[in-house]
């Protein structure tokens, strides 16, 4: 079943005359992991906000077309109802922190208080999310006394604890150390396996290639392509859209090493194919 349907979506921010989203249509099935890529200003964050309903319910402006989540048209619903279904980790963790809570623990509790859980369940979820993101030991600290990466971990924990059906992550690992970033991708992958639909905006193409079922390539408010990572990263015009292939794919492209007509996009596949290529050349 389609979890999210976007039909002919168009949008301009108030007092501007550029179509930041320009006739966008695509469908996402339940439990898919969708990567969104594209250069700065392509419209990725705006599209995410349109799926949460912040566009057009909070950000006004000219809006056309429809976004439907679970059969409900978001523009005709309200932000708090959609928030129960769709959770979003914002691009800038500094803006996600409420600023009204004294501790890291209360910060995660804040979202949960609004969904009427009993105390026991709430505590379990908070502990689990803080542990998953490796920040349990900071639970009594003021969120603003965390390092940048710790704050980003907190923003992710807050959304995971809510357990929405759809989780949107807008560059969630930009400030995480490499191992932390890998852990977040793995954690999100586990959520996907439990049937949660994932939408992730990322500039780390190696990770997008490894984890996405499909990749949405955006440019200038339009969808250029929506396909498997292998197909997307085998395109020869990515430069035009300000996007670069994963390092592994760049290497394979340099030697024209293909796998069933497409370039490998992951470490494992690239390794296998490059080794084969070297053996072939040696003999």
């Amino acid at each position: 079943m389609d979890k999210i349907v976007v039909e002919n979506l168009k949008y301009k921010y108030p007092l501007t005359d550029k179509l930041v989203l320009n006739d966008i249509s695509f469908k996402i099935e339940k439990g898919q992991f969708i990567g969104i890529i594209g250069q700065n200003g392509a419209g990725k964050s705006t599209l995410c906000q349109a799926i949460t309903g912040l566009v057009p319910l909070f950000f006004k402006g000219a809006y056309g077309g429809r976004v439907i989540v679970d059969g409900i048209e978001v523009a005709k619903s309200n932000i708090s109802d959609i928030a129960l279904k769709v959770g979003m980790v914002f691009q800038n963790p500094f803006t996600q922190i409420t600023g009204s809570k004294l501790t890291v623990y209360e910060e995660v509790a804040f979202g949960l208080e609004n969904i009427g859980l009993d105390r026991e369940e709430m505590k379990n979820r908070i502990d689990e999310a803080l542990n998953l993101l490796g920040i349990y030991k900071f639970k009594d600290r003021n969120p603003f006394d965390l390092s940048g990466g710790q704050m980003q971990r907190l923003a992710i924990a807050g959304i995971i604890a809510m357990r929405p059906d759809v989780i949107i992550l807008d560059e969630p690992t930009s400030q995480l150390d490499p191992q932390g970033s890998e852990e977040v991708f793995k954690a999100v992958w586990d959520l996907k396996k439990c049937g949660i639909t994932i939408i992730m905006v990322e500039h780390k193409m190696e990770k997008i290639a490894e984890y996405s079922d499909k990749v949405l390539l955006m440019h200038d408010g339009k969808v250029i392509d929506f396909d498997t990572p292998e197909k997307i990263f085998s395109r020869d015009d990515l430069m035009k859209y300000g996007v670069i292939e994963p390092a592994y794919t760049r290497i394979c492209k340099a030697f024209d090493i293909k796998d069933n007509g497409l370039y490998p996009v992951t470490l494992d596949r690239a390794c296998e194919m490059v080794v084969k290529y070297n053996e072939h050349n040696r003999s």
Binding site: N40, N92, S147, V243, F255, V274, N281
Partner: protein, 265 residues
């Protein structure tokens, strides 16, 4: 000559948790990356260099000046810092005045400040947005503005705390060019980042911070050979090096470019 000398530096925010646990370092003109796990103390360290925080014990000497004995304003002529969070730095309502602010503040006259700021905005590719309100811009643009503000001040030392956050491929290349450019003007550039490929492609020297100490310090390609130490600091080698390891090759290349060049026949 050493530009910055750090001697037995210790620092804590609260007595019960020491953040920096004895750091001794000398910075010369080599462009330097600082990498390490979240919470290792990287941002704290550069705030100390800038004089925004003062050592609990130990000393930091910048061109012969001890940060303990000099005000932030005094040090600001020598050392510029781009904050990790651009919102901590941006407060004017017009891009050009935002970028000019720091330059004017350290005593540049109006004309020079303007010229220097326009030049810096050109370097980051935002010359078309000089009249915009920074608050209407995206995170990546705000980050570039905060970089331009510091570049415009023309200090001898420039520190970038995670400059590549939210940047696409093209902007990362721009930031790389800016770093090469500053280096060729003889400036010391120190950069904190979690982007290992960016480090491999850009910096001569790399420092690995781990739990308040310097775990590794050396030429970038040598640091990236130390898989075990890197793991301890929650890091990974660059992608090309990961491929070399996985292929069991005896040569480890740290950039895609080197890998391709070495394997082409």
């Amino acid at each position: 000559m050493s530009i910055i000398e750090v001697k037995n530096l210790h620092f804590f925010y609260n007595k019960d948790e020491e953040i920096l646990k004895g750091i001794d370092l000398i910075f010369d003109e080599k462009s330097t990356a600082i990498i390490g796990q979240n919470g290792a103390g990287k941002t704290t360290f550069v705030k100390l260099l800038k004089g925004l925080l003062k050592p609990t014990s130990g000393d930091i000497i910048i061109y012969g000046k001890n940060t303990k004995e000099n005000t932030v304003a005094n040090l600001a002529r020598t050392i510029g810092l781009v904050f990790q969070n651009p919102n901590d730095q941006i407060f004017k309502n017009n891009v050009l005045s935002e970028v000019m602010f720091g330059a004017l503040n350290i005593g540049m006259d109006e004309k020079d400040a303007k010229e220097s700021s326009l030049n810096a905005l050109r370097m980051v590719g935002l010359e078309g947005k000089i009249n915009d309100n920074p608050y209407d811009l995206t995170l990546s643009e705000r980050k570039l503005i905060s970089i331009a503000s510091i570049v415009a001040m023309n200090t001898k030392i420039i520190i970038l705390d995670e400059p590549t956050i939210a940047q696409d491929y093209i902007s990362k290349e721009k930031i790389k060019d800016i770093i090469f450019n500053l280096k060729s003007q003889g400036k010391l550039v120190i950069t904190i980042t979690h982007d290992m490929d960016f480090v491999a492609e850009t910096f001569e020297r790399t420092l690995v911070f781990c739990e308040g100490k310097v775990l590794l310090d050396g030429k970038t390609n040598e640091v990236f050979m130390q898989d075990e130490e890197l793991k301890k600091a929650h890091l990974e080698p660059p992608y090309a090096a990961q491929l070399c390891r996985k292929m069991n090759s005896d040569k480890i290349y740290i950039t895609v470019e080197e890998f391709v060049k070495a394997n082409k026949r």
